[in-house]
Amino acid sequence: MAKLTIADLKKIKEKQHATFTLREGGYRAKVTVHMGTCGIAAGARNIMTTLMDEISRANVEDVITTTSGCAGFCAREPMATVEIVNKAPVKYGNLTSDKISEIFREHVMGGNPVEKYALVVGSETTY
């Protein structure tokens, strides 16, 4: 292992940034994939996988994903809620891999909710 310099300390810290955003808080956006029985049956797993691939590919560190239970609107599963800090959360329904990719690019990264897929603005309280 090469000897560390002060610059290396900073690099290591930056590299670990995403992990510690998760543990210390301070994220910019949170995407919740609803994974009740209905969501899973409708393909929510696939949505989660796609989303994580997108985050990984975009190499962003301030976006976290989490799961929650059934949103109560089983007919429109799979669903996801996008929360940008200090903005109202937006719920999307009838998702597919392509749709969640688009939502990730436009809403999570671009800051513009994708109205054509949006169900509603607002969210029930989650933990």
Binding site: M1, L4, T5, I12, K13, T66, T67, G69
Partner: protein, 616 residues
Amino acid sequence: MEKYRANLLLCAGTGCVATGTPKVRDALKAELEKQGLADEIKIVLTGCNGFCAEGPVMLVYPEEIFYQKLTVNEIPKLVEEHFLKGRPYEKLMFKDIEKKHAIPLMNDIPFFKLQVLRVLRNKGMIDPESLDEYIARDGYTAAATALNEMTPEEIIKVMKDSGLRGRGGAGFPTGLKWEFASKSQADQKYMLCNGDEGDPGAFMDRSVMEADPHSVIEGMIIGAKTIGASKGVIYVRAEYPLAVERLQKAISVCLDSGLLGENILDSGFNFNLEIYLGAGAFVCGEETALMRSIEGQRGMPRPRPPFPAHKGLWDKPSVLNNVETLAQIAPIILNGADWYRSLGTEKSPGSKVFALTGDIRNVGLVEVPMGIPLKTIIYDIGGGVNKKKKKFKAVQLGGPSGGCIPQELIDIPVTYEDIVKTGAIVGSGGMVVMDEDTCMVSTAKFFLEFTADESCGKCTPCRVGTRVMLDMLTDITEGRGKEGDIETLQDLSKDIIATSLCGLGQTAPNPVLTTIKYFGHEYEAHIKEHWCHAGICSDLCSFHIVDDLCKGCGACMRGCPSNAIVGEKKKPHRIIQELCLQCRSCYDICKFGSIEIRPALETKPEPAVKDEEVTT
């Protein structure tokens, strides 16, 4: 780099490992793989989380949900509910005292909410075996600053301004200690760490070494630079295998990456660090004895002066700091003296780690600001006495060198200067809580047994004096106490304190003195009435059933090992005194409080029939 959507920080401190972390980890890993979540959710083993009473414990990020008492059987359900379906699993959450509802978030649980984390800043937050994770939390930034941008004088000034006092027990100002050693001239100096924590019921230093070994190493690098030491030793007792293992790994990764060894962080400063295993003698926590032990000699203190800052290890100037002291050096360098003083009091700034044990609900490790009332630690953080119907009686602070603080003084602020007024000491931070069923004479005897055993034998007052005191206490607890014993104990205590060389002898009588001071009536009852109110000293008590309170449920009868209890169902039972062993099991079993403890019977009644008279 792999991305994870959740991190599971599973406690792998000694406490949680003992309660089942390894099995839980395997089950969790297998279940995550089964559900196809292994790539999304990362398991991290951390050092002691502090809430040992509820172990094994786990923190789930990003939600910060706290799970406790994990078992292998619950894992599949937990994974399905929380990690697959996103429904935090209430069954494994912390329940508030009335057991009415679950508290999901860690920082809503009083045990965590009231703590401030400085020494324990990384507990349960990082993997103690990962250098990168330590660096991610500003690790080694302070060392870099100290090595490259600060002179020893500047570091000493920050340390003195911060007012940090040694956390090993004596509370000596750290900045001053460093200044003395820094000014000593010598071809070789040593920076030493005292990890020889040996008080019964104390585990602060062990937890720091296990949870955050790099914080200790970083403190030592900064100290070494300040005093000009190129060599260092961490003295740890061999009974702390996990701490030793983590420190060893940390040292070797530091050597590989140039954080120890030659030219650290391009500063031109060299520092080599090794571990020395102690065999677990209590006296080796004393600095001169510890240094002798490292030199390969029998661990015995020597008179000071010369102080170690002038003549220490191998007769070279040395600084010995306690683990907890060293762990807070880096944040002080990074944030400054004023930041450090923002907590605590004028004379006792900062925070202190305490190990809560004994008859307390939330056994564990806590860090609180200095000056916090003792009551807050015991009731709000500690959750009070662990048995519902029992009352708090006293808390032993400072281990065998400390003293008992009774219920009346529980509002006292926890600072070096206030605690010392009670006759106890802050010490290294062990807090043993005792409920009303504790016999204070036996407690004093227990601690004195420890110190009498651990006395190195150099000073006669300590070697012989503690033994004489112990014999007297044994006599008192076995019914051979005499008038005047209390005064003799106090006199002996004064002599031992005045004439012993080191801290062991100078503090050994403290538990006896404080229990006499606050619970003198118990000593008198033992001696004059042959009555141990708590029913602990079996020669000094007798057990009786109060007819009015007895429901005749038979529980005591079934629990009695000597079949000394007789009676019909739903009618008051009776204890046959000549069969009773005073084992106290009926007292502990009875839900109605119908067992009364009275003085020892003068003579045991002969035939069982006569026992009829011995009722209320």
